[in-house]
């Protein structure tokens, strides 16, 4: 731990970080554009300049150096003394801001970044209230640089974060800085659009409204959005994300800082992979079929119906005829509640790990590196919670089957009662699985969309998308990560956790914390589950 003095106050800070990082860590508001803790340092924006004490070249006496130093590029040293609160430093910030805004079109009313723009923030804190520019502003063009991203070069501050991201994190180097001086602009190379699986991050990295997401363009002003801390269910990496929503609709997903998992980034597949949430074809109401006529029960009856039908089935056919399939899209709490209920009603029942979707090979970034050097990995296992379900199955004990064995044995007629949890965003019921529906005299299905199983099931329960539920997922590295609910269930009504809580025989409101406490009695991994740092205090 190095001890340094910032603005006459002594602080202890981590070794090997920059002074800017140390100042930001202790809560100093130092403006900066080009510095990002996940990228290399270029010290090009000159906003973070500081005064530093240095030995006089002749007398070796310590005194304030006459020139300002970039704090992002100066590593901390034990005993060093710096200051940001002087007129010199503030003058520099003010003058820098004036130059940043020389050619800025000031079109905040129509800019999507307005509200989370650091040009606005710093201009408000450090800038002047009017422009002294008398010459004509340089008007740089708006460019379509890729299938999902627009580049408004007139708003750019040339921090080159996006350029460094494509060089250092994705290793694809699509973006570059062309021309020099006042003509410099960010651009793609001719015929090479910005189209890599992580390109959405350049929009988050951009501190101003230069890089914008086409999917979010003009949809909402950012101050109308509310964020919910969540975990991306796209693959087993389990990136920490923020679900930005308004009026019960998800508008965009943004990565949250989650050291060791996704750091500051997320992939485009996850970022834009939430469309199914608002699909009109989703199952939204429970359906009960007894004889031919399906009817929709009120939510309060659902638990009782499920319990009664399964108990009745066990009485007629025996407990060993019952099987429950736990989906890797369920949260740990939901899977635990379902396993607990099934085992309570039918102690000899079999539990099955639902099919785990695998697509292609894991993609590692920067492109071409091995597993050890990867800065970001998109896994081929396209479900969020295989490990969590495995933990639940292990703790539940008894007969645990793989999905293949289940299909085989169910096909042979070993089971007559089944509870199948789906919740897969993509169609998952293959022909051999669909055919099984006829084998069960009692079939309860939880799913997002209609399929062969839901059309045949005695009870259909709507599975909810992850943004409508809460709980925790266990990622590929075995990290238990909680996610919160962002929006209300489509079509209203209860979400999976709520009805499974009632089905499992609990009274009152569904409280994930309490369920997790009960789980922790047998599975210590669920004790004290913590969310990733709320925000990367040092990265905007």
């Amino acid at each position: 731990m190095a001890k340094i003095i910032i603005d006459n106050e002594a602080f202890e800070c981590r070794d090997g970080i920059s002074v800017l990082q140390a100042a930001l860590d202790v809560g100093k508001q130092v403006p900066h554009y080009c510095y990002h803790p996940g990228l290399s340092v270029v010290a090009s924006c000159r906003l973070c300049l500081m005064e530093m004490k240095m030995p006089h070249p002749k007398t070796r006496e310590m005194g304030w150096a006459p020139k300002l130093m970039p704090s992002c590029q100066t590593p901390v040293r034990d005993g060093m003394e710096v200051r940001f609160n002087t007129e010199k430093v503030e003058d520099n910030q003010k003058n820098c801001m004036e130059f940043f805004l020389l050619n800025h079109p000031l079109d905040c009313p129509v800019c999507d970044q307005a509200g989370e723009c650091h040009l606005q923030d710093y201009s408000f804190e450090h800038g002047r209230s009017e422009s002294r520019m008398v010459d004509q502003k340089t008007k740089n063009p708006k460019k379509d640089i890729g299938p999902d991203t627009l580049l408004y070069s007139d708003r750019c501050v040339l921090c080159t974060r996006c350029v460094r991201f494509t060089e250092e994190i994705t290793g694809t180097s699509e973006l570059g800085l062309v021309n020099r001086g006042s003509r410099a602009e960010i651009d793609v190379f001719p015929g090479v659009p910005l189209d890599n699986p992580l390109q959405g991050n350049v929009v988050d990295l951009c501190p101003v409204g230069c890089l914008l997401d086409k999917n979010f363009l003009f949809k909402r002003r950012v101050w109308e959005l509310e964020g919910a801390d969540s975990i991306c269910p796209g693959c087993a990496t389990g990136c920490a994300i923020r679900v930005d929503h308004a009026d019960e609709k998800v508008y965009r997903l943004k990565p949250r800082f989650n050291p060791g998992v996704n750091d500051w980034w997320m992939c485009d597949e996850g970022r834009f992979g939430y469309e199914y949430v608002h699909d009109a074809k989703r199952v939204t109401t429970p359906v009960v079929r007894r004889g031919k006529d399906p009817h929709t029960p009120v939510w309060h009856e659902v638990a009782e119906i499920c319990r009664f039908r399964l108990t009745e089935h066990v009485r007629e056919h025996g407990a060993a005829s019952v099987v429950a399939v736990l989906s890797p899209f369920m949260s740990c709490e939901e899977a635990w509640l379902l396993a607990r209920f099934v085992r309570e009603v039918a102690p000899e029942s079999a539990l099955v790990m639902g099919p785990v979707p695998i697509e292609g090979e894991p993609q590692r970034f920067p492109t071409g590196v091995g597993e050890a050097d990867a800065k970001f990995t998109i896994l081929s296992e396209k479900c969020p919670n295989r490990r969590g379900i495995e933990m639940i199955l292990e703790a539940a004990g008894g007969e645990v089957l793989s999905f293949e064995t289940f299909v085989e044995r169910a096909g042979a007629g070993d089971f007559s009662g089944a509870w199948i949890a789906g919740g897969y965003p993509k169609p998952w019921v293959e022909k051999n699985v669909g055919k099984l529906a006829a084998k069960f005299s009692l079939l309860v299905v939880q799913d997002l969309f209609e399929n062969e199983l839901t059309t045949a099931a005695a009870v259909v329960l709507p599975a909810r998308a992850w943004v409508e539920r809460e709980g925790c997922f266990v990622n590929a590295g075995g990290k238990v990560q909680p996610f919160n609910r962002a929006i209300r269930s489509a079509g209203g009504g209860w979400h999976d956790g709520q009805y499974l809580h009632a089905v499992a025989g609990f009274d009152g409101l569904y409280n994930v914390g309490r369920v997790r406490e009960l789980m922790a009695a047998t599975m210590p991994a669920f004790e004290n589950v913590q969310s990733a740092p709320l925000k990367p205090a040092h990265a905007h």
Binding site: L106, D107, V110, F218
Partner: protein, 208 residues
């Protein structure tokens, strides 16, 4: 948590004998009414008008009636769909849907612009908030409709109110539309369309 020191006990004041009569208070409250009555009885000037045959003279410039959406010089909707009015609106009665504009000089325009005139409290905050002076309140106040749906005015209706009222209340300050045309704006002396006396300003956006 509520702390003890945050609790303020308030007791009703005890009334004196005259206050308990209530008559002075009632007469005090009716003072204006009674004065008007006496003035009318003694042949003074009447303070009421025979609406709807007679109509009051309004201060056109700042009367806050039904909204209108202004048009720019080329007849296009002046709104740039920045949602400032919807953000400022305390009654939450403005609903806008923005899209990329079909015009070269404009980034964004409203495809939908609905104001629920029943929800509106006519506070004029939308007019204050608008950076391009596109939304204004007009001296129209006799707005009627047969259903709630009819009272939600859409973009076309709001534009037609502009066409009806521009004669009595011209658009306040039409300088800003086309502000992305950096070309002519930077002539010495300031803005392109005139009408603005503080030269050199750019937009209604936070300037620097």
């Amino acid at each position: 948590m509520i702390r003890d020191e945050d609790i303020i006990e308030i007791r009703e004041p005890t009334l004196s004998a005259t206050e308990r009569l209530y008559l002075p208070q009632i007469l005090g409250g009716m003072k204006t009414t009674l004065l008007h009555m006496l003035r009318n009885l003694l042949g003074g000037e009447a303070r009421t008008v025979e609406y709807p045959e007679q109509k009051r003279d309004l201060r056109v410039a700042n009367y806050r009636g039904v909204h209108r959406l202004n048009r720019d010089e080329q007849g296009r909707v002046a709104c740039v769909s920045c949602f400032m009015c919807a953000t400022a609106c305390p009654a939450d009665c403005i609903h806008i849907e923005g899209a990329e504009s079909p015009w070269e000089d404009r980034e964004k325009y409203p495809v939908k612009f609905d104001i629920d005139e029943l929800r509106c409290i006519y506070c004029g905050m939308c007019e204050e908030a608008c950076p391009v002076d596109a939304i204004e309140l007009t001296p129209h106040y006799d707005l009627v409709g047969r259903s709630r749906q009819e009272m939600i005015l859409g973009k076309e209706e709001l534009l037609s109110i502009f066409d009806e009222t521009k004669a009595i209340k011209p658009r306040k300050n039409p300088r800003i539309t086309g502000y992305l045309n950096t070309g002519d704006r930077d002539k010495p002396g300031g803005c392109d369309a005139g009408g603005c006396d503080s030269g050199g300003c750019d937009t209604g956006a936070p300037s620097a």
